[in-house]
Each structure stands twice: as C-alpha cells, then as structure tokens.
C-alpha cells in the first residue's frame, strides 16, 4: 500500500505500540504534523520547548518501560532536544527522537533551519539515522525502536528530510531486523552462574547494589527474592531507589556521596558486592582507592563495557539483570547473615537520619510531609540539586519504580517536563514534582502544557532563593563566597494562577499537611511554593576525594562516635 513518507512514519509508530508523542511543529516538520490528522489513535502533546518533549519521552519510558517518542522540527527544534537526549543517554533510557530535516537536495548547503543533527547527537545517542532514501525509511524507524529498547537501552534519533516525508513511500513493515554484530548478551553462561553462586555462598558480609538496570530490566521481583534468599541487604544508587520497597527490612536506601550512613558503612565493610545494573559512578564510590577495600565484586550488567570500567570485577557477568537473577535464584541455597544484618542495624541506630534544621520550614520537613501525605506510595519526579538528595534520603519509596530523576547527567530543569511523560504512564494517580526554585525556572514554560492538558501534576517548589547545591559547595570548598548562586524568581503562586493552576504558599512546617491535602484533592494540577530555610546543607556528605567511610554528618546532631 502506498502512503506518503510522513504517513509511513506514523504507520511504523503504531506498529511499535506508540500512542503518545511529545512534539513541537515547524517548517520542515509540517508534512508529519499534517499526516497526524489521519491517525487519531496517537495522542499528540504540544510542549512549549523541544527540550521538554525529550524529557517527557524519557519520563514516559522510565515509568512504563515502553519506548518514549518525541518529535521536533529541523535546526533549532532539533538542537533543543540535545539536553534531553543526553539525559536519556546517560541514564540508559529508551527514547526515539524524530527530527525533521531540510529537503535532501539542499542538505549541506546551510539551508534555512538546517543543522547536522546526526553529527551533533553522535556521541549522545546509542545510534542515529539520517534517512536519505524513501526505501530506507521503514527500516530506519523499525531499527530505531529495536535499538532503543534492546541491550543497554538508550536514545536513538531518526532525522527525516522534508522531501522524504512528502514523497510516496512503499510501506511494508519487516518482521525481522538484520543488524550483524548487534547481539546483546542477556543470559550469563551456566558456569558463570555456578561460579557466582559459589562466591555468594562463601560470603559473610554480602551487599547487593541495585542500580537503574534493575528498573530497566523490570527485575524488582527477582531482586526481592534474591535478597531474601541470600539474606543480603540492598543498597541502591540514586536511580536504583524504589527498586525494592523501602519497607523491606533488607532495603538500606541510597549509598554514595549523600547516601545514608548505614548504607555506606555496609558497602565499605562488605566482603562481597553484588552490583546489579549499576556503573560504579564516582558519586557512588567516593575515592576509588578506598572503595569497599575488603570486597570482591560480582558485577552484573548488560553492557560489557561497564564491567571493570572503574572497579575491577572478580566475577564479571554480562546479562539482563532479571534473567541473571532468575538463574541465580534457582541455583542458590537459603542463607543466613543475621550477624552482618545486626551490625548494619547497629550502624543505623548510631547514625540515624534526623532533621536537625531549625526555623519555620526546614526543607527536609517538606519531603517528610510529602511522605506522610502520600503514605510513601507517591509517584515522585525530582529535579537536580539539594532537594533531589533530600528526596533520596527522606522519602522512603514504598512503591516500586516510583522515583524518577536525572542521575548521570544531572540535568536541572528535568522534573516538570519529565513529569508530563511520567503522568502519561500513571494516568490515574497524581505525579508529584519536587523541584528547586532554580531548576523550576529552567523549564517553567511547561506550566502551560500542564494547564492545557489538565494533567494531575502537583508541583512542590523547594524555594530557598539559592542554587542550593552549588551554594553548599561554595560554603564548604570556596570560602563561602556565594557567587552566581543567589537567585530571585517570580511570585510562583501568582505565576501558577496566571496559568489557571491553583497554588498556595507554605511558610511553616505546621501548614504542610493541609497544603499537601489540598494539592492531592484538587483534580488537576497544583503548585505549592514552599519557602524553606535558605542555608540548609545536605548531610551526610562524603566530600570529594574522600572515602565513603568518612561521611560528614550534620554538625548540629550528636557527635559521631568512633
């Protein structure tokens, strides 16, 4: 059957199960928007800036496990996607970015709104395509989805010249894909499983490290069974939070730079680390030379290049976390590490995570208030900065895969646009956005999208008038010279109201419960501007270049015992 190229793109998307795209039109993209009229089964969300389209696709992919799709026009439309694509790349999130391009005949002539977007995104995509012939169109789109979601997931960009979108195009959707050399290994060899089982059986102080790969592989159930079977505690990375319910006695919470003390002490004193879908990021390990000095590392990752990249692995296992855990669970005996767990419990009692902040509205209390209001079952999207760390520490996620944030790239401005996608994945419940006043101002134009779509997105601004995390580093490492970090903003309540979004200001801890209740009960969007204490720091903190054992606790708490 013959279609236009633009129609063929939508036909392909439908076959890939796409029912929503975040998009922004433009000259070169006109044919693809025009063709959308024939495909009412695809919901199109008009964002206010293309960066938001990429983050929304990313949030949708994280929340649903499906490939998220964003669409932009050529030139500036395409370059505006770049930060969103890079964010997805660093966190291994499967998205397909479609960009329109100037007509093939004028590519390379610096035509109006022409930019070499495949060149620009070469290092920040898993793969990308510039479609130069109608006959390649279907194959490229088909492969883009396949590559985005298989192996180590990641963003794939397809650049679509306008004349190819207009020209008639043969449509036949291929069953099979031929990519010689692309064969992700998902299953570890049986002898590897046996070796791993022996190593685990011989460990006295094992710690499981849960990374984003647990979410990507949807291995939550396998992780819980594995931890219970071998009676090992689970410390997670930032993106590994909510891979196991925080209610579970074996769940330690986050380790690393702002990790909780007991999780860091467990990791540092372990004799075996079982890393699942995590890449030993510098924010997680602290000083590498002093990272978990007594531990052997059993490293499971779908990407062989991550194994041994920063920490040598005694036992490298390439595979999909879910499949590897299934195999391990079948092989392993029930184990008991009660002395080790008791030791960790003692650390937890000695170094509790308490709020020592004074003043009418300590930021940590806002997060604790949100926890109370949602019973720990909320779906939370956090931005980047101090508030992100306070969420990681003070919101024990009871619900699986309920926390979304930009980890690897640390993209300020991520949360509100990502929430557009997360909300599409959770249409029935509210999505909570926790965001600093700095991060919020990076993408606040998306308030219009939220309002236009009447999305149940509840925005909690942690408003301290500072770029807080940078201010904290200035305080600690740059002589408290606050250069470039004091930040003003509009009246966020009136701003929200001007978009037709109900809002209220919170200035004291005592007001939190009522404010969160009001936000929860309003059907659509809601905004809370929480005027928190300005000079709070995130503790505990492992200072750069130091070991995770040397975390600094809040000086206002009791002195740490040696």
């Amino acid at each position: 059957m013959r279609h236009s190229g633009a129609e063929v793109v939508w036909e392909c998307l439908i076959r890939e199960g796409v029912d929503i795209v975040w998009a922004y039109p433009g000259g070169a993209a006109l044919p693809i928007f025009d063709a959308l009229a024939k495909y009412p089964q695809i919901r199109h969300v008009l964002v206010r800036h293309e960066q938001a389209a990429a983050h929304a696709a990313d949030g949708y992919a994280r929340a649903t496990g499906k490939v998220g799709v964003c669409l932009a026009t050529s030139g500036p439309g395409a370059t505006n996607l770049v930060t969103g694509i890079a964010t997805a790349m660093l966190d291994s999130v499967p998205i397909v970015a479609l960009t329109a391009q100037v007509a093939d005949s004028v590519i390379g002539t610096d035509a109006f709104q022409e930019i070499n977007i495949t060149g620009i995104t070469l290092p920040i995509t898993k793969h990308n395509y510039l479609v130069r012939h109608s006959r390649d169109l279907v194959r490229c789109v088909r492969e883009a989805f396949y590559l985005a979601r298989t192996g180590r997931p990641g963003p794939v960009l397809v650049d679509l010249p306008k004349d190819i979108l207009i020209a008639p195009c043969e449509f036949h959707y291929p069953e099979r894909i031929s990519r010689p050399g692309y064969r992700p290994v998902v299953r570890s060899a049986p002898y590897q499983i046996q070796r791993a089982a022996q190593t685990i059986a011989g460990a006295n102080r094992p710690v499981i490290l849960a990374g984003h790969g647990v979410h990507m592989a949807r291995a939550w159930e396998g992780l819980r069974r594995f931890a219970e079977r071998i009676s090992a505690p689970v410390a997670s990375t930032l993106l590994g939070l909510s891979a196991m319910s925080a209610d579970h006695p074996l769940c330690l919470g986050m380790a690393g730079m702002h990790g909780v003390a007991w999780a860091n002490l467990a990791v540092q004193n372990a004799d075996l680390l079982i890393a699942l879908g995590m890449r030993m990021d510098d924010r997680f390990t602290g000083d590498l030379r002093r990272f978990a000095p007594q531990a052997k590392l059993l490293h499971v990752d779908i990407d062989p290049a991550e194994i041994g990249k920063r920490v040598p692995a005694a036992l490298p296992m390439v595979g999909d976390v879910r499949i590897v855990l299934e195999a391990l669970n079948a092989e392993l005996p029930e184990m008991d590490h009660r002395d080790w767990l008791a030791q960790i419990e003692a650390w937890r009692e000695r170094h509790p995570l308490e709020v020592h902040a004074q003043g009418p509205l300590p930021p940590q209390q806002v997060i604790r208030g949100l926890y109370e209001a949602t019973g720990g079952e909320g779906v939370v999207v956090s931005d980047v900065g101090q508030h992100q760390m306070w969420v990681a520490q003070h919101y024990p996620f009871r619900r699986l895969n309920s926390f979304f944030t930009s980890g690897g790239l640390g993209t300020m401005g991520y949360s509100l646009p990502a929430a557009l996608g997360v909300q599409a994945g959770h249409p029935d419940g509210p999505v909570w956005v926790v965001v600093g006043d700095g991060s919020f101002q990076m993408n606040l134009q998306e308030l219009a999208t939220v309002a236009q779509e009447r999305l149940s997105i509840k925005i909690v601004i942690m408003d301290n008038g500072y770029l807080g995390m940078v201010r904290q580093w200035q305080e600690l490492f740059h002589g408290a010279r606050y250069i470039g970090t004091p930040i003003s903003g509009p009246d966020f309540v009136r701003l929200a109201e001007s978009y037709g979004i109900p809002a209220r200001r919170v200035t004291a801890t005592a007001e939190l419960a009522a404010a969160f209740a009001a936000a929860r009960e309003s059907g659509g969007p809601y905004l809370l501007d929480c005027k928190v204490e300005r000079d709070e720091n995130v503790y505990p903190m492992v200072q750069p270049g130091t070991s995770n054992t040397d975390f600094v606790e809040d000086p206002r708490g009791r002195a740490p015992e040696k």
């Binding site: 290092p123 590559l147 990519r179 290994v185 060899a189 590897q192 062989p304 290049a305 041994g308």
Partner: protein
C-alpha cells in the same frame, strides 16, 4: 604500548565519524587508520594502530564493539604469527650525481622506481612498517620531498580468520556459549 585493533564494520554513512569519535573523546592519537573492502559484501575492514595502556585500549575496544554496525573488533597486538604490511610512496630529490646511488638503495630494499624526473625519483615499496622506516632513514640525506604511507594492515598466517576469532580472550568469559 602500541596496540593494533582490527575490525569489521558495516559500510554505512557515519561509521567513520563514530569510530573517530571513540578515540578523539579519550584523547588518543591514532598512529594509523586504514579502511578498505573486506571479503564480506557491505563490510569494511578497519585497521587501527594506536598508542595507549592495555586497560585504556581494552575499554576502547569494548566501546568500539558497542557501535551499532561493528561486526567484529579484535585487539591483535599480542598475535605472534601475523603479517603486517604497509605501502610507501616517497619522492626523493636527486641530481645526476646522486641518482645512481638512490637507484641502488632502492634495489637493496626491493623498492620500485615508479617515476623519474630530472630532479626527483619516486620509489614505491611494500613491507613491514619497520622496513619502510629504514628505507626512509637511508633516503633522508638525499632530501625527501614528499612521502605517503598507507598505514599497516595485518593478517594472521595460516587458516585462522578474523570472523572466526573469539571476541577476545578477556570478553569470552562473559559470554554464554
């Protein structure tokens, strides 16, 4: 240490840029990079000679293998039984007095004279890179006007072929049989 990577990659646009990006990103200076048709239709054989530590090169090889379109990437540095050949064209300045001397040096190195002018000769030869280095060294006093080297290509002796080679001794242990 000098490393030799041999790869088979799909012949498609952007592949060269992707490979170049791998090395540039990590600040590696590529000594030579050759590309040409392989025995497989649509597949290009790439040979890269690069300086770097074994750990760094191991990481690059792994990243290289991740490129969509890379069929095979092997670090053949440690292979003993292999051939390495490179081609050289060199334009040497000569006078009536020195011409014969250059011609006999060319003979000694089994290099062919492929062009003659009143003031220059062009020599062509193929061989191991070290032989080419030596030839250039002895020609230097006459004045090298221009030189072009292709960069070396490598091939194992005997029936062993690249496509049947295990991914690499390091990586094989990860893989399901």
């Amino acid at each position: 240490m000098r490393h030799v990577l041999v790869a088979l990659v799909q012949d498609e646009p952007g592949m060269l840029a992707r490979m170049g990006n791998l090395f540039a990103r990590r600040g590696y200076n590529v000594e030579s990079f050759t590309a040409g048709a392989s025995e497989l239709p649509g597949m290009t054989r790439i040979t890269i000679v690069v300086e770097g530590s074994s750990t760094a090169l191991d990481q690059i090889a792994k990243q290289f293998r991740k490129l969509v379109g890379a069929l095979k990437v092997a670090d053949v540095t440690a292979d003993r039984d292999q051939l390495a050949y490179e081609m050289l064209l060199v334009k040497v300045g000569v006078s009536a007095k020195t011409r014969q001397e250059v011609v006999s040096l060319a003979d000694l190195f089994k290099a062919r004279i492929v062009d003659v002018s009143s003031t220059t000769l062009i020599l062509e030869t193929t061989g191991e890179p070290s032989k080419l280095d030596k030839l250039l060294e002895v020609l230097k006093p006459f004045g090298i006007k221009e030189q072009a080297r292709t960069g070396a290509v490598f091939m194992s002796r005997g029936p062993k072929v690249l496509t049947q080679r295990p991914v690499s001794p390091v990586d094989r242990k990860y893989l399901a049989e």
